[in-house]
Symmetry: C2
Subunit: 242 residues, 2 copies
DNA sequence: TCATTGATATTTGTATTACAAATTTATCAA
DNA sequence: TTGATAAATTTGTAATACAAATATCAATGA
């Protein structure tokens, strides 16, 4: 192939180069998490750049959650938090939000969540159980007209199960999806007849299965629950669907 | 409660406030994707801030992939790309990498991938099939001592299946996990007896099932394949495990 | 000795000015 | 219309100055 006309010069700005250098060092733990970076002035001297360029590089890193900057104190390497890791994912889904994404979300939930419930039934601890029970109680008492609260509680119920797997990857994978549920729900203009009853019934069934550490039952009830959700969206969101 | 002594002042820096304002506007599509932002000078005037503060805000946004800045031209709103969305997730997993994470990865794969293969069997197109077939051919020819290449091909095989679901959420969920496989593999000091044969055998089985659009078979073969992987890691990575 | 206070030094945040470098736009000639 | 050139526009970097938050340390008082 002709490499003659390959892209010329990465065209990285100075501050981008600095950003990469520091990111690399953090990644390789040459700059350990929690350690304090040299002051701006010292870094300027080391890198041989102006304070402007250096600061813009550090703003980038701080925006991504790799360093924390405190006025008067200094700049510190911070391990990426889960929230930092998924923030842009949240934003991505949020901006992609449309009927297509809704269909994809439902599909993924049916693909993943039954097994998640099954694993949760094995791994759950006492704390998870009381969280789930609280959630169910609140859901019972929730004003049927308060769609938003209902959606939030529903969302939280499923997130709690995801966390109960004790596998952070499960949580990370599902959390951005769950955070869209309230928005999905709000598209269904009004209450669906019998919807609350169904949700409550299945949340209780799922809870009982998880409580009894019955993996199979938890898996199956979750699958049935999500099947029903699919039907509702199919009905009320007439459009190209799964 | 005494609210008298509650935390005072959000302590957001000026540039952080600017960042949020612009992010909000982009999120709400008041600033549509592709649109050109006013020049730095104009924005400084609008916001009533210095160029320093404004620029640092925009560096933050550009670091996150929300705006693209071109010297001499201007600043443009860009839709978040998938790569932007998962870059920090990759970094997060990369920095978390340890035996625990390996165990969690394997667990998640066993949880999710069988159903993914099942869906892929339904949704796959001709292109996917030839990609998979190519992959298998290369795997056959791959030098058994070239562990890295073998791991890359294995990685790619599974990613291709994830993409074949035609569901980007599946892809986004799995890609950061797959990208860690080569690193995991490198921990197993040498070739595992019969490992390549097994992988090849099951990749072929899975391929055939997907080719024939046999959802059940694809699901089950993938489950068996991953069970075997688990056993290997259990054996060679003696330590606390699933 | 210990805790509190207050002054001082250190460090990051913002503003301003100046110029460099890349791109875009306008101008003009063929 | 096309193409080249010049001018204007726009972002990138540097340097300086000061504000504001924090950290450090000495002095004070019980």
């Amino acid at each position: 192939m002709d490499d003659v006309f390959r892209k010329i010069g990465s065209q990285l700005t100075l501050s981008q180069k600095i950003e990469r250098r520091l990111e690399e060092a953090i990644r390789e733990k040459k700059l350990p998490i929690g350690s304090k970076l040299p002051t701006e002035r010292e870094l300027c001297a080391s890198f041989g750049v102006s304070r402007t360029a250096l600061r813009e590089a550090l703003r980038r890193l701080s925006a991504r959650g790799l360093v924390k900057i405190t006025k008067g104190s200094g700049m510190y390497v911070t391990g990426l938090k889960i929230d930092d890791a998924i923030r842009n994912l949240d934003l991505y889904y949020d901006m992609q939000f449309d009927q297509n994404l809704i269909a994809q979300i439902i599909q993924v939930r049916r693909l993943f969540e039954p097994n998640i419930a099954g694993l949760a039934a094995i791994q759950r601890n006492q704390n998870d159980l009381s969280d789930l029970q609280d959630n169910i109680e609140k859901f019972k008492l929730c004003d049927p007209d308060n769609i938003q609260l209902e959606a939030d509680l529903d969302n939280k119920f499923h997130l709690t199960i995801a966390k109960a797997t004790r596998n952070p990857i499960v949580q990370i994978s599902m959390e951005p999806i769950y955070s869209l549920l309230p928005r999905m729900r709000s598209l269904i203009y009004a209450n669906v007849e019998g919807e609350k009853d169904h949700t409550l019934e299945y949340h209780i069934k799922i809870f009982n299965a998880i409580n009894e550490q019955n993996e199979t039952a938890a898996t199956e009830f979750m699958a049935e629950h999500l099947k029903r959700t699919t039907d509702i969206y199919k009905k009320y969101l007439h459009g190209a669907f799964i």
